[in-house]
């Protein structure tokens, strides 16, 4: 539900970058979405189809690369993938955990012509 504003930004960024590259059409937008970010690719795609209408990005394919969550133990610095919803360090059992990867949401690259 909070994907609408975010998708507006995606269309804006894609249009600006396409303009800079003097492209007439955006073919593909490669997005990187972290597993822990609250953004749902299907939802972004849904809004994109209507928001991109009559823009240079109309008809572009959205490709989503998901970044798996990685956590880091603050006690022993071990980086690990969360195995369940209770975040604890598999090495030392520590419960003081920070998010190392998985909150990303960015446009990595685009294909234009």
């Amino acid at each position: 539900m909070h994907e609408l504003g975010v998708t507006e930004n995606i269309v804006n960024i894609a249009s600006t970058k396409a303009g800079e590259a003097q492209a007439n059409k955006v073919i593909k937008i490669n997005l990187v979405v972290g597993e822990l970010s609250g953004f749902v690719p299907d939802c972004i795609q849904f809004y994109f189809d209507s928001l991109s209408r009559d823009t240079v990005a109309q008809g572009a394919v959205l490709h989503f690369e998901s970044v798996p969550a990685e956590l880091r133990c603050r006690d022993c610095s071990t980086v690990f993938r969360p195995q369940d919803t209770l975040w604890s360090c598999p090495e030392c059992g520590g419960r003081s955990i920070e998010i190392f990867k998985g909150r990303e949401l960015y446009i990595e690259s685009m294909e234009v012509e």
Partner: protein, 224 residues
């Protein structure tokens, strides 16, 4: 066909406006607290308690964010210096306040007469975690009837919080809420977080929360 590198954060547009809000607020020496929680956890009640106790100590404005209605703004109206209601129903995000909404709300406020702004975000534990508004402190309220597992289910909002309030402490005898387990979950995610246990109904514990606000304002806002 050619490939162009972009590497641009999609949330950058919001962050840029949030930074602009922060500069404006700092220029006017206004301290801002973004209050987030699930619906019904007690955001409005906490704001009413805070307004009552800090009366005469700080000029407080309130920004109310709701999908629809002015119910909360009406409750707060007579107690605050200024109240601005933002209805998100027709905005690009209906589930959270965003920096641009705060930017336009600030335009309607007498900034030189305000020392503290309490922002009541839309009741939601997911979306507000993604959007900064230009605030100085992020506060999350969890109330006992919601259960002690919320930091495990919705970690992001707790990871970035400066303070977490456990509200409705008066209900402790009636609900299964393990305070120690809840505190362990949030301090694990966020070791520096300040935790308050209080009841907006009885007023118990609210004083400590208000002292914390005064201390934050004092140490972060240079006096004129």
């Amino acid at each position: 066909m050619k490939r162009i590198e972009v590497i641009q954060n999609v949330l950058e547009a919001n962050d840029t406006i949030a930074n602009r809000n922060r500069q404006l607020l700092d220029k006017h020496r206004i301290f801002v607290i973004n209050i987030m929680s699930a619906p019904g956890a007690g955001k409005t009640s906490l704001i009413l308690q805070t307004l009552a106790r800090l009366k005469g100590k700080l000029n407080i404005a309130v920004i109310e964010g709701d999908v629809a209605s002015t119910v909360d703004a009406e409750k707060v109206q007579s107690k605050a210096k200024v109240v601005v209601q933002i209805n998100t129903r027709n905005m690009p995000e209906s589930c959270s306040l965003m920096a641009a909404m705060i930017e336009s709300a600030l335009k309607d406020m007498p900034l030189d007469d305000i020392g503290l702004i309490l922002i009541e975000n839309v009741g939601n534990l997911i979306c507000p975690a993604e959007f900064t508004l230009g605030e100085h402190r992020r506060v999350v309220i969890s109330s006992l009837p919601e259960g002690d597992d919320k930091p495990i289910k919705y970690p992001l909002i707790f990871v970035d919080a400066d303070a977490v309030i456990i509200n409705k402490m008066d209900l402790l005898p009636h609900v299964d809420f393990d305070i120690a387990a809840f505190r362990r979950s949030i301090t694990g995610l966020n070791p520096k977080v300040e935790v308050f246990q209080l009841s907006c109904k009885t007023g118990e514990g609210v004083e400590r929360w208000c002292s914390w606000i005064l201390e934050q304002v004092k140490t972060n806002v240079v006096k004129r």
